[in-house]
């Protein structure tokens, strides 16, 4: 309240602000945010990637809602996507934005995750920020997998079928898990119905919850400085105010990201293949989207070394262990200082990038 007194002349605007302030404690929030600062150093540009990821997520929500107006899960799924793409005015544009923002969101998320990793932003007290971030990555991959089936064309059908076959090979829970996801023994309209529910209700609710926690934690702890910056004496470190100095740059980056999104959408609007036909053979050279390519190649390699269910089980087990190791990095590198543990974390990070890049490239070359 004290702050609202300094708003200047008693105009309608200031009276309205006071009215809102009294009920919503705007001044308290503004006071809190006005004190927030962001470290300024030569690696500051990595801070933008979280915001860029969020921008693409917002585009996902908006375009997803618009697609919902015409999309029909079930037997009409393919026809409704064909109508959206080829007949509905600017339907191709909305679908293109949804398709490309999903891909770009994953790309931004990977960049954000690795930048956070190398800045050691998972260290005390930011461990929960890291864990919620890893969860957000998994949910986003879940969004990608469940959304891919929805057009129900040839490619999406076979990609989902192969994906669920992999899940089925897990011991004990595998068959049950795959059956629940499929709604039977094969990928059918029932599977679309299930994936649709997952894609538009279950996952959005979860992502909103976890994202809120993630953002609140960032507000609480602020942006972490990289170790090279932390090593400097306090008076040598530079900071800028979050409002408006950093936020303005953040908005600029969001707008540039949007511009890039629109550019790729108009240059490469997604098409639609032939309708899914379970009786037809899988198209030649079928493969998952780029973000699943490394896992796909890993499974292939293990399948060659150890054919059969055992090979699949071990490879999935190894991937799960790798993910677990990735998640517990804050517990390994927990001293807050340079040393053996910090070095181990650096090696884990570098090795992860090398493995992801090499396996993805290998997978594409092997098609």
């Amino acid at each position: 309240m004290a702050k609202s007194k300094s708003l200047g002349p008693d105009t309608m605007g200031t009276r309205f602000y006071k009215w809102l302030d009294e009920r919503l404690a705007l001044s308290t929030m503004a006071g809190f945010l006005s004190k927030k600062t962001v470290p300024q150093h030569k690696h500051s540009h990595w801070y933008y990637w979280g915001g860029i990821t969020l921008t693409f997520l917002i585009v996902q929500f908006i375009t997803g809602i618009l697609l919902l107006i015409y999309y029909k899960p079930g037997p009409d799924a393919f026809e409704s996507v064909r109508f959206i793409t080829y007949e509905l005015e600017f339907g191709w544009f909305i679908r293109g934005l949804h398709h490309w923002s999903a891909n770009l969101m994953l790309l931004a998320l990977f960049i954000h995750m690795f930048s956070v990793f190398f800045m050691r932003a998972y260290r005390r007290p930011r461990e929960f920020g890291w864990w919620t971030g890893v969860l957000l990555l998994l949910i986003t991959l879940g969004f990608a997998f469940s959304g891919y089936l929805l057009p129900f064309d040839e490619l999406s059908y076979f990609a989902t079928k192969i994906g669920l076959d992999v899940a089925e090979s897990l011991p004990l829970i595998g068959p049950a898990l795959a059956a629940i996801a499929r709604g039977g023994t094969d990928v059918t309209y029932l599977t679309i119905q299930r994936f649709f529910t997952l894609h538009i209700i279950v996952l959005p609710l979860i992502i909103l919850g976890i994202l809120t926690i993630h953002l609140v934690l960032i507000l609480k702890h602020g942006n972490a400085s990289p170790p090279s910056e932390e090593a400097k004496p306090k008076n040598k470190r530079k900071e800028i105010k979050f409002f408006w100095d950093f936020f303005v740059k953040d908005i600029t980056m969001w707008l540039l990201a949007l511009n890039f999104l629109i550019l790729v959408t108009i240059l490469f609007p997604p098409q639609l293949g032939s309708p899914a036909d379970p009786l037809a053979p899988a198209p030649e050279g079928i493969h998952p989207e780029w973000y699943f390519m490394s896992q796909y190649q890993f499974l292939k390699i293990f399948g060659n070394i150890l054919p059969g269910a055992i090979g699949e089980f071990i490879s999935i087990g190894l991937m799960a262990c790798a993910l677990l190791l990735w998640a517990i990095v804050p517990l390994i590198d927990n001293t807050g200082k340079a040393g053996k543990r910090a070095k181990a974390a650096t090696y884990i990070g570098l090795l992860s990038i090398v493995i992801l890049v090499v396996l993805t490239a290998w997978a594409y070359l092997a098609i």
Binding site: L88, E89, F90, W92, I251, L255, L256, N259, I262, P269
Partner: protein
Amino acid sequence: MNYPVWVVPVIGSGWVIGIIAIIHILISHFAVGGGIYLAFAERKARKENRKDWLEIIQKHSRFFLYLTIVAGAMTGVAIWFSIALSSPEATSALIHNFVLGWASEWTFFIIEITAIIVYYYTWNRVSAKKHEAVGWIYAISAWMSLFIINGILTFMLDPGKGWLSVAGTGAEPSKFWEAFFNPTYFPSLLMRTLVCITLAGLFAMVTASRINEEKEPKLKEQIVKWSAKWLMPAFALIPVAALWYYLMLPQANKDLFKLGVSTIGQGIFTQLTRNAVFLIFASIILFFIAYVFLWRHPKSVKLSHALLIILLAFSIIGVTEHMREMMRKPYVIGNYMYSNGIRKFDAEKFNSEGYLRNTIWTTEESKTTWHIQDTMTSEESDNLSSPIQPDLYRGELMFRGQCIACHTTNGYRSISKLLKGRDEASIRSIIDMLHEYKEDSPYRKFMPPLVGTKGEVDALIKYLDSLINKIDQ
């Protein structure tokens, strides 16, 4: 086919021009707008006796000189090289029809480069009045070169009825002014001038961003804000200019725009609409960035930001120029010359006499053989010991002459990809459609007719079949 064919694999010759031209357009429009900017900025600084401003303007003129004279001139010459190789017929037509235009353009260009060199090297060496005068000479001559080139570029989209009525008669120069001030001339000139002014403001950010905000915060704020104002005319008037331009377009071009609203289609069917959608969004985004960042927080502008914003402008210019190219389809010079260099009025002649017969790039022996084959009656051909097979060499020549201006075998607009899965009969049906070129053919909207005798068309089909289905003769 009076000239050799330039075969550029993967990207095709069109993109060689495209890449060079987009870079050149960015720099050349800055060369026009930046000249006006320098003249106004110097006048303001001198009027207000701002020595700090003059120092910045001098620095900016050095950056301007290097960029426009070196990169601008080099890419300009490169355009001539690439268009002469890629579209020699069209280049020849433009040279012959606009002798006066080119001569004037080059005159203004010479004045322009002389003036900017004098402008830069006479800072603090001649009186303020003289220096300002040189700045204005540069600004006016640079804009005049735009005034001229705009006439030639817009002519290519729509030469106007007057010029078309004499096209091919040898009396084309008598309609020079009608061709020059064609229907889209003025809206295009307005649009380009606005783009020039916008780029002047954006490129000024490169110099302004280098001012140290801690040592000279006020100066940085003033220069960034003053430069940001240069974006305002475009934001206010470009929608009007674009609408004016659209209204002046020939009906066929307007129809192409409308196609993509309701259908995604394939290839260039909807490319125009898609590009237009991008332009609208990108312009709004540029407006917001300019307002939020440059106008409200001028001191935060760093070199990396300035370059990113210029990159955004670059994408807008690239897409606009791509649109301009696409809009002309199926012509390279509206209603006169098809995009593969064949003049509209020659099509009938090539159908009856043969396309390759009218080229100087095949041997007389081949021409004679082909002519005998084409004029043979069915009775005569039945009596031959072995039936005549359309030869692949002839088909390849047809492909190079009529398709390669827009298509590549395996890269951009790949013919292998476009015809994938088709057998010979299916390739024939599509080629026949292009050859017959009926009024209701969907290809008429963006592809030239396929011209030639039956023997030539057969040879092309054979060649395409061998290319797609990997069969040897």
